[in-house]
Subunit: 404 residues, 2 copies
Amino acid sequence: MIQVAVMGYGTIGSGVVEVLEVNRDRIAEKTGQEIAVKYILDLREFPGDPHEEKLVHDFSVIEKDEEVQVVVETMGGVNPAFAFVKACLMSGKHVVTSNKALVAAHGTELLEIAREKNINFLFEASVGGGIPLIRPLTQSLAGEQIQEISGILNGTTNYILSKMAKEGQNFETALRKAQELGYAERNPEADVEGFDTCRKITILTALATGREVNYEEVSTEGITWITDTDFKYASVLNTSIKLFGTSRVEGDNVSVYVCPMMIGPDHPLFGVNDVYNGVMVRGNTVGTVMFYGSGAGKLPTASAVVSDIVEIAGHLADNIAIGWTERKQELMPMEALSYRYFIRFAGTAKEKLPDIQAAFGKVETAELPGMDEFAVLTEKMPEKRYRKLAAAFTDIRQMIRCDL
Amino acid sequence: MIQVAVMGYGTIGSGVVEVLEVNRDRIAEKTGQEIAVKYILDLREFPGDPHEEKLVHDFSVIEKDEEVQVVVETMGGVNPAFAFVKACLMSGKHVVTSNKALVAAHGTELLEIAREKNINFLFEASVGGGIPLIRPLTQSLAGEQIQEISGILNGTTNYILSKMAKEGQNFETALRKAQELGYAERNPEADVEGFDTCRKITILTALATGREVNYEEVSTEGITWITDTDFKYASVLNTSIKLFGTSRVEGDNVSVYVCPMMIGPDHPLFGVNDVYNGVMVRGNTVGTVMFYGSGAGKLPTASAVVSDIVEIAGHLADNIAIGWTERKQELMPMEALSYRYFIRFAGTAKEKLPDIQAAFGKVETAELPGMDEFAVLTEKMPEKRYRKLAAAFTDIRQMIRCDL
């Protein structure tokens, strides 16, 4: 029997307890032993909860109990999660977490402790919820040179953008709907400003390069400035606008960024709508593969946590190689990258196009009936060049990068 | 250093040698040791090939060389692959194969030998080419109760159906185009009759249930009878027609079948076009996840073979639990399953609809201008009931099952 402690009895933590119960037989068959929850750590009381007797309020009970072999951290946030997780690893307990903030900020150190102690620190649930993603990336694609990872990694923003695309809503209305349905927090900043996606693409990049990536260095834009007018153009152009977390690797040149991206129907992530997540990975020999599923939600995320527990059951006495070292990954500035650009100009195409073409070169144009503006799609050019050219125009209303 | 022998120097075998070379550094970093090809077994000569000196024609050279720890089987077909692979395993060598025919026919026995010998028999490349699929299914989703696997598992038929959908071609023209491009064999039977998909869904089902599945018991229909007229209706109905390999699991009730399926834009596999493969997996707690990528091709398939070699490098002295036992899985007859049905009738809707509705109940209708026929979409009903009802109509031109 493997004794587990769950720290944090919120949505994900209670989901983990539920999945361990519902799939008890299947898990026992796979691991050859029972996985039992011994403690649940939470500051709150849960009177009447079927697991009430397992509840403890004092972390040291878990830390000191040598029978506890695996600790699940589903508290969220960096403090006190970091201190607790570090203490568990130091005392020789395997740790599984769903906490992307913790992994993005302290993954390097925690993985290093796990290696030294010959135990495991796993975090499949921290990116892409229930989608098997980290294990395929670190194991199935272990021999690949990863060239690009692009992901729709945040269900809240994808829901909002999908609503805007399908129903013509503006950002505020779609956000309110997402809040009503419980898809968005009362304070939605972490999602809509791209911070959540930033943590996740940071984690994936560290796994792909094997080096530490500082999430504070990742150029991060959210979706608050995307409008219903943008989606009217997107519809005319048969494109969509998604919030992408992307990392591109060319030898030692690695760039990571989060920003809205205009994509066409041939892009593997075009059909990823509503609260779903999708991650595209391009390797030098495997080509393009894509993973899709529920990127959040109680049971899907809990299922990913449980998959890590199951893996640890087969590696109780050895460290699974993750390949994320203390070596620091330098990031290229966003200015060095090249995109196509969707640009909206005030005025009429007839009047402005000659100047625009003189500056940007060949462009596609799009117009909406009855609007005092028009849009162009440029050819691919370095961001640095775009910024220099755009600075000369005072009538630009919007710019969205394109992967078309 | 791990010494490898490659049996079969065709497209995939030479791809494996190439991927091991191209990604040598990355693989060495991940596995901590060099992977070196010692022998290449093929009956043919390859004068001038850079690996000519590794070529052997006699299998026993590989079998008897104790330095060879891993054997890659990329010959295809059951004979002599089965005898060679069995002999390798018996002599304590790990085996990696891309050969779905071998795995579907003899997987149970070969996995049993590997378990007894405490070595590994891996076959990630046998289903879905380069898509990480078998490892996510057996490891990441190990604790899940798998309820459904539906896959577009054959790139040739998916290319043909995509051509028919996009360009209005009939089956014969699309097949010829696929043959010209090298996507279809001169003798395309294994692909277009669904036999290839049958082997692959058999393998996935055995992995999901942990039991042996006899591919000869899988109800298998191909795409040769799908017409350009069917796709005209599909276009009107905003649906598409794909060749599905599906297995559905409800407790001990398992059904596996291969047949064309009409699906709508909300289905996760709707956007899987051309030679790409996609596999949807539904688990009881993870919900729906989907995997997408190149289902064939030299380098993607070779990349999957290499991922198995890399995994074995970390398990040279232990058997990785695959969970596919000798216990036999009984299959439910297709008649017990329920679908919606797309049915084309000769004549006019006005004249025939009353009889059709009297028999099938509520239906949606679709008509094409200038045709002496029309189509209906029924509600969901058991196949047994459909067959009984349909037997009373002499004017049915086509029936395609629907997952709408």
